[in-house]
Every structure is written in C-alpha cells, then in structure tokens.
C-alpha cells in the first residue's frame, strides 16, 4: 500500500535555529517527490520537485534532498515568515499526488 509519512508532526524553532523535516515514502513507481508550503486558509504553494535519489534543490533558506526511501527539507536560519505547514507528496505513475499529513512549523522571533 502506498504510504507517505512526515515527521515531526509539529516543530517549534527559535529564529535562526536550523533543522530538518522528514518525509518517508513507500510507493510503487515513484515519478517525483513534491514539497509544498501551506499557510492557514490557503492552498498549497509549490516549492520543489525531486525526481531521483541524490538530487538536491534549494530556494532561499530551504533545501530539499531525496534518497530512495525518504526526503528531507532542510531549513537554514529560519525566520518567523517561514512558519507554515510543509507537505510532501509522492507522485505515482498516474500523475496522482499522494500526500503526507504535514509538519506544522512555528518559528519564534
């Protein structure tokens, strides 16, 4: 059965305190691993797509990496505006996105 698991469920960081979010996946025929940011009351905002193990992508304070079993979203020196829920999703052969339950990040000034 296809499964995407994110940890931790919630994370509180001091401003400037770097950390990583984990996304473990068990899917058949992975075509891509997606990261989204979701603010309260809004739709998910696209961040990254990773297609193969060893791939890395960066955007401002965020860096996403991918292995054969999991993906990490590294946040370097976060700011309060980085507070959001971060979702990962595995794309299977049918172009469907299978989402994890998300990590709710709070960055305290």
């Amino acid at each position: 059965e296809d499964q995407v698991t994110q940890s931790p469920e919630a994370l509180r960081l001091q401003e400037g305190e770097s950390s990583s979010l984990n996304c473990s996946y068990t899917v058949s025929g992975l075509r891509g691993l997606f990261w989204y940011r979701q603010d309260p009351g809004k739709g998910p905002e696209f961040l990254f797509t990773l297609y193969s193990a060893g791939e890395e992508k960066e955007k401002e304070r965020l860096k996403a990496t991918l292995t054969k079993k999991e993906s990490f979203l590294h946040i370097t020196a976060p700011k309060p505006e980085d507070s959001a829920t971060y979702l990962c999703a595995a794309q299977t052969g049918a172009n469907n996105l299978f989402f994890g339950t998300g990590t709710r990040l709070t960055v305290i000034p």
């Binding site: 075509r31 891509g32 997606f34 989204y36 009351g41 809004k42 739709g43 998910p44 905002e45 696209f46 797509t49 979702l87 999703a89 049918a94 172009n95 469907n96 996105l97 299978f98 989402f99 994890g100 339950t101 998300g102």
Partner: protein, 113 residues
C-alpha cells in the same frame, strides 16, 4: 507556473442541498484534479478531471456524489451533491502539465449544517 482561482471561496449550506465549485486556470493545462482536505488532515485526491470525457474517481469517491465537468483545458467544476455535515471540508482544485508539478487553487471552505 499556473494561476488558479476558485469560486466560491467559502459557503455554508444546508443538509441535502448541492454546491458547485468552479475552478479556472489562467493557461491551458493537461491535467486538472480535485482534492479534499478535512479539518486537521492532509489532502486526499477525489478525482482527475478529464477534458471531454468522464472524470476518473479514486477509491471511496463516486460520480453520483461528486459529479465533475471539464468542458475545456482551463475550466472545471466539482459538485458536492446531497450534502451532509460529513462533507464539511476544504475542496481544492489543482492543475499541471503531464509529468510536471501541480499548482493549487486557494480552496473552497464548505460548511454543511
């Protein structure tokens, strides 16, 4: 990227009625999808909206309850039929091109009394 709008942004409906949600994309896209996000939970795919043919539904979702139309490459509608309080949720439209990233609309927050 694609910019996606949804109407209405929110609604409060009575049990037994139906609501149609509209999704408009600012450019032609291959794929359009409808998701549901229940309170405190992640997104669950309802169906893929196919242009010019019947939608493809995921397990647990049926056409009689969630009829979908996609008359062209930039527009789709989702109807939530014969609503009950369990249908209270956020409904999200997404769009993308074959094999590429999906972009999401802002969502429609539905409350059923």
């Amino acid at each position: 990227s694609a910019v996606i709008s949804q109407k209405p942004s929110r609604d409060i409906c009575q049990r037994g009625t139906s609501l149609t949600i509209q999704c408009q994309v600012d450019s032609q896209v291959t794929m359009m999808f409808w998701y549901r996000q229940q309170p405190g939970q992640s997104l669950t795919l309802i169906a893929t909206a196919n242009q010019g043919s019947e939608a493809t539904y995921e397990s647990g979702f049926v056409i009689d309850k969630f009829p979908i139309s996609r008359p062209n490459l930039t527009f789709s509608t989702l109807t939530v039929s014969n609503m009950s309080p369990e249908d209270s949720s956020i409904y999200l439209c997404s769009a993308g091109r074959q094999g590429n990233e999906q972009f999401f609309g802002p969502g429609t927050r539905l409350t059923v009394l």
